[in-house]
Subunit: 136 residues, 2 copies
């Protein structure tokens, strides 16, 4: 089983060392070992944790929910319903977010086409496309 220094994890996950200390302070990272000179040692357990944190973060799960999640996970038998609720609700949220982003992407793509149309008109000294077409 491998071990890692704070700097190694920092590079692996592209987070600052201070963020790793912060995650430990607030209970997202637990059971962090120490060298005889008090420096943190992480293990593959922490790699797995940080993969989960990264996934949760990328999908907009707030830290408070992550704290709940890892607390539930530490005592899964007694919190299985709570953890299922948490991940199921988060799954639903992600699907809604994706749908919303896809809808809004269409609007942004429209804006990109619209302003490129304006630029062409400016370059050719031609009249601008109608603004009526803009606010769809």
């Amino acid at each position: 089983m491998s071990t890692y220094t704070i700097k190694e994890l920092s590079k692996l996950f592209d987070v600052q060392s201070s963020t790793l200390r912060y995650y430990e302070d607030i209970g997202l990272l637990t059971n962090v070992g120490r060298t005889d000179t008090n420096q943190r040692i992480y293990t593959d357990e922490h790699i797995a944790r940080l993969n989960a944190i990264s996934c949760f973060k990328n999908t907009g799960l707030p830290i408070s929910k992550m704290q709940d999640f890892f607390k539930y996970e530490a005592n899964l038998e007694n919190n299985i319903d709570e953890i299922i609720d948490l991940v199921t609700e988060h799954e639903k949220n992600i699907k809604e977010q994706i749908k919303k982003m896809q809808d809004e992407l269409a609007h942004i793509e429209h804006k990109v086409r619209f302003y490129n149309g304006i630029k062409e008109a400016i370059d050719k000294n031609a009249p601008w496309p109608y603004w009526d077409d803009y606010n769809i």
Copy 2:
């Protein structure tokens, strides 16, 4: 051309009145009219603005970029390249966000299946599924 009170816009866009005042303070809403007793009056121009703000917000564009966008839009002839850059980069960001969310959704769906498997095992008093399967 219709006009709207702050309360009407607040309800239409599901934002607090204070947020509409804040958006005006920081330049996201401009040319807001007043009644003879100093109360704000909005027009369809502001409806269009708030649709754009809402779209940008839903797709994670920071307010500082929105400020740039509306400043460019107010003087489009001289800022057409800047506004095209802004919306094109934002389009790219949204696409990346959607892709990332779709990838991470697969992980969350895996967690949902995994914890439901645990729950079934608990309910049946059966042994738990292997943790090896968990960290994919």
